[in-house]
Symmetry: C2
Subunit: 338 residues, 2 copies
DNA sequence: CTGAAAGCGCTTACAG
DNA sequence: CTGAAAGCGCTTACAG
């Protein structure tokens, strides 16, 4: 390994001068000296050691992607297409800024704080905040700037990028209503405990209310676990005497499951039931019929989160902000006109 | 930040003694001293700084997951369900061993070598080796132990975990043949350039040969890009006078696309065409009809790769090995008996 | 524009 | 079982 010392020796300058070249410090090194040093660095394939750098400076250049461990998928969050997209975008966007991505799954606040201290992370981005207590405490105790996706509390300073979940739920139900549906159910992964899902549900209720309808408890499914949960919902629905003609869901995979549940029993979608998904992820376009769904702009969301994080890394006073991204309805083939 | 120095001072011992406790060095510290030190560490939430550690020792505890940048999906590999699974498993498995996961997308060999030097990585795992020249050179020049998935060369020492691709292609075609199909096509993402796809294709040819059949050029689709590419294949097939009754594919998403291409033109699967996927990923179970596909044991594959890497990290002489994982056929609903 | 000194928080290698 | 010395490869904070 070539070190800064050897580069300095060969160039006949001090280590500081090399350091200034490496770090692009303006007006510190004459152009000729810089050119000479750069050539020597290139010749030896010199790269600065991040370990040394991060030890002596405050900055590690490490951004941790915080992945909460769920009960249902202890293996990993990456099993969700939503997470995979985002992590991919983050890696790309952060790389451009000379920042490095570490994955950090965690169960407790202490896990995260420990990770921060161990690596001296420059920043963190949390996906899927699933537990309000933990998120709350994290926002309070974090030492690195942290951006949280899909959750915000007003009573504590925190940086969040959310989407219009309520509007999403509203648009989904409204679309069904406009297509003539009046018996509309809802299937979500955690209406009680997840703010995101709860908001989507609330939006669904808003739309029903506009038509002077109230949600039917029998058609409201809570704690629906991903695709398999959706299949169960589908199986349950077809056994009912009174069936809804439309379903709003909190997640594309749940919608896909319901479709599956219908089809494997000889029913058809959207003939026997109309379904709206949420997220507009890959499964939404792979399933037959293609899913009418609520689209969120993943790429843009990732960009906003990174921009927010970079600003927070520059400006220590920037620690409280909320950005809410828009959503829209994507019409495909899983909804029929009544 | 509490440092080892302060812990040592409070415990009335040298820094070395604390270091030995942290690193679980056996027989170096008396049980009482260790207990006292542990309590003090816990009290102060002391964690060793990885930067300092990695600077003074040789080991950074960082494992890089190498993600080649493709032309077609420059954003990220994580868009593939296959990659998402694996990365999730790796994070989980490595975490247990006190190793940390960094994501490293790259285009050139130099990108990877630079990353190695910058972070002094303890190991690397490469997903989707897509370019033989690069993989070759990487195997030769890497300074950290490296495990490569789905590619192996015999002429250079390298550690690889592959699957029985040829057998997979064979099983897929054989199944169609046994169901009475004789006109069977193949759609793959890169028959020419990807060894994996080429092997799957070769296996398909093997099966045909057993029945004294030869592949039909008109039904052989190369460079099929993911789902959208599959749709195009479907659209192309239905326009043909002579259509195959079965298709073997190199990837579930391609199979899903073909299904889509048929269905959106009023054709049905498997009535109008039987299709076999590859990988047994999430889309395979979400699509209608559910895909008959070649299953590879992802979790096990991840475990084998990690085991191989850990061994290589312990044993500097262990630098050449190949493990080939089995595959099997999963029968679902996308294949009809003729 | 350039440099000498001190230090970041650990571990290695050695001595006792 | 414990410790004092030197060093890992950088940067900070100064001085010139």
């Amino acid at each position: 390994m070539v070190t800064i010392k050897e580069i300095a020796a060969e160039a006949g300058v001090s280590r500081m001068t090399v350091s200034n070249v490496v770090n692009h410090v303006k007006g510190k090194v004459s152009p000729e000296t810089e050119k000479r040093i750069r050539e020597i660095m290139a010749k030896h394939h010199y790269v600065p050691s991040m370990a040394a750098r991060s030890l002596s400076s405050k900055s590690s250049h490490i951004i941790a992607i915080l992945l909460p461990l769920w009960e249902h998928t202890p293996s990993s969050l990456l099993l969700s297409p939503y997470a995979a997209y985002l992590v991919g975008y983050f890696e790309e966007l952060l790389r451009e800024k000379d920042l490095y991505v570490m994955l950090c799954s965690f169960s407790t606040v202490e896990d995260v704080l420990k990770f921060q201290r161990v690596w001296h992370t420059d920043g963190m981005i949390q996906l899927f905040p699933h537990n309000d207590d933990i998120t709350h405490q994290l926002a309070l105790e974090t030492e690195s700037p942290m951006v949280i996706l899909d959750r915000h509390f007003d009573d504590v300073p925190m940086l969040s990028v959310c989407i219009e979940d309520r509007k999403g739920g509203y648009l989904a139900a409204k679309h069904l209503l406009e297509e003539g549906h009046r018996n509309i159910g809802f299937a979500g992964s955690a209406i009680q405990t997840s703010k995101v899902v709860n908001d989507r549900y609330a939006g669904y209720c808003d739309a029903l209310a506009e038509y002077h309808l109230t949600p039917c408890p029998a058609w409201t499914f809570d704690d629906v676990i991903r695709f398999e949960g959706g299949v169960k919902v589908g199986n349950a629905l077809i056994k009912m005497k009174d069936r809804p003609t439309g379903m709003v869901t909190s997640e594309d995979l749940i919608a896909c499951g319901i479709i599956q549940g219908y089809q494997e029993n000889g029913f058809s979608v959207p003939e026997d039931i109309s379904i709206v998904g949420f997220d507009n992820s890959i499964p939404a376009t792979v399933v037959t019929p293609k899913l009418t769904t609520i689209n969120q702009f993943m790429r843009k969301k990732a960009e906003r989160a990174v921009a927010m994080l970079l600003r927070a890394m520059e400006d220590p006073t920037y620690r409280d902000d909320l950005e809410v991204m828009d959503v829209d309805l994507v019409k495909r083939r899983s909804v029929a006109r009544l």
